[in-house]
Subunit: 332 residues, 2 copies
């Protein structure tokens, strides 16, 4: 049986989130910057985990969360990401497939020499619903272009690339290759910025990708587009980037979001949320709603609104994967 | 540094819960009886897991949940249970220790020949908040009396034994030995019945334990005490069992709970819950509240009320471990 062509295929970190609540003093004690993402080596991750409170485990990964949202919205989604052959890897793969996301990347074979486990992200949620992420990427950063399914990428309307995975050399090469395959097949490439832009050299690499006209749809939040462009005001950031990408989408948290294309500039407010519990995944689900609506041919405002509604659902509970029936919330 | 003597030490299954929602048709399709617990071999567990929706993982185990509650109530708790040397075992151990529960049972060494992973319980929660449990006990049933810390048991006010673990021979021997150690040190033994009473031979074994006067406090729900005694009405069950155990506690779900001692019989209503989300762990947290209040010298009614309040918290969210600050809800 041939599988149907995908609407969107993403390449990103394959991570299981380990979510615990904490108070501000815990962040201070462990020198963690609220709202940030930092990379931890396995030993530092073990130390932080030992200090954390009891946790729940939920599959995560930025672009993987987006594909969970895309599938929950009823579209055909695929995901490429590297897990190890271990229990967290089984959990990640199960959760993707259970959502209907095509996920065929084989786990790193045991005894492959790397000895790396499936990646995990220790997420600390403070009472103000801010998340502070501490990622031990493990197997996730061992992704190579060997695992790319070229036919799947050629057949997908959009190939979605995760900025967090832009750092390590092999995954970056794989994403560059995927972007080339997508473009040569006349498909679109979307890229989501990530906080890891502040890592030295990272900004220039991403800017190079954009300057090579490999990005058709660029997602970022305000901080990220400021880091990327070096511009002071949001307006300058938008002007600078909109000249380089056909579709620019900037999320602004509680202030809403803005999208700029060659012909349009649309702003929306954030969707209402009764109680914000955990902001993890807000940007990921915004991208999911936006991309799903775009695949369905919605106008720019409709894409933004779909993004805002999906984001509002995911911040109303712990974990970065949708829990409510997104198809009822976002009518596509 | 010497550790302080414990208020309560429990022996039970060391399990990670894998919690997914489903609708009634899923239960029917997979021939699962709503509200029940069944044991699955690893292959059957893998098949059911593959069919389940995306899940969250939260540490569980009946008596382990109770100890989580006891620790959350500010008492000194310990737990004895068998995990494997794997990621789920790490998660279980982390969550116990992060709650302040003393947990020193070494994991089964890798390559011990059993090849069994840490136990997991696939929990399906239907929209009516009922949980249907499918347990693959794995390493948990490999517990032997070798891992008992006799000094810890002698020093704990109450030794709490889990009915689910009464089936396999080695754990049953370990629990019998622990009960003997506790009694010879002048301590109390509590036992919580479980649905596994319907497994042939199990009922007789538990009745034997009770008839040998090894149980000072017996917990069960209505179904369980009916299975155990073979009596028709609740009143008959209570009369029959109260003659054999100094303290009998029977939970009745939304109908409340009743406790019978030689001198008293007290009934209470269930504590109010705004929205019941997932009833997993209700009995476990009831036992936690009751035992904690009893250790603090509360009268019988106060013990029941502490149990009802702790149970009400745990059924208001997914997962069988308390999430709110129990010390604020139950003032001991």
């Amino acid at each position: 049986m041939e599988t149907p062509p995908l609407d969107i295929v993403a390449i990103g970190d394959a991570i299981v989130d380990v979510i615990a609540t904490c108070d501000d003093s815990f962040l201070a004690e462990h020198k963690l910057t609220k709202g940030s993402m930092q990379l931890l080596d396995p030993q530092a991750a073990d130390r932080l985990y030992a200090a954390m409170g009891p946790a729940r485990e939920v599959s995560g990964g930025s672009a993987a969360n987006s594909m969970a949202g895309v599938a929950a919205l009823g579209l055909n989604a695929g995901f490429v990401g590297q897990v190890a052959d271990d229990q967290l890897g089984d959990i990640f793969a199960h959760d993707m497939r259970a959502l209907g996301v095509r996920f065929d990347t084989p786990p790193l074979p045991r005894g492959d020499g790397s000895g790396l486990p499936t990646g995990r992200c220790l997420i600390l949620v403070t009472p103000d619903a801010q998340r502070t992420m501490n990622t031990s990427p493990g197997a996730s950063h061992q992704l190579t272009e060997r695992v790319l399914d070229e036919a799947m990428i050629r057949a997908a309307s959009i190939t979605f690339l995760e900025g967090y995975l832009w750092g390590p050399e092999q995954p970056r090469k794989a994403m560059l290759k995927a972007a080339g395959i997508a473009h040569s097949a006349g498909r679109s490439v979307a890229f989501t910025l990530s906080e890891s832009l502040c890592i030295p050299g990272r900004r220039e690499g991403v800017m190079g990708l954009i300057d090579s006209a490999l990005v058709d749809i660029l997602f970022g939040n305000e901080d990220e587009v400021r880091h990327l462009t070096g511009c002071g005001s949001l307006g300058e950031c938008l002007d600078s980037l909109a000249a380089k990408v056909p579709v620019l989408v900037v999320t602004r948290g509680a202030a809403g979001a803005v999208a700029v294309t060659r012909s349009e500039r649309v702003e929306i407010r954030a969707a209402p949320v009764a109680k914000v519990v955990d902001t993890t995944g807000a940007g990921d689900l915004f991208a999911a709603g936006f991309l799903a609506a775009r695949c369905r041919g919605r106008p720019l405002r409709g894409c933004l609104e779909a993004g805002a509604t999906a984001a509002a659902e995911v911040i109303s509970h712990f974990g970065a994967r949708p829990e409510a029936d997104l198809r009822k919330l976002v009518r596509l």
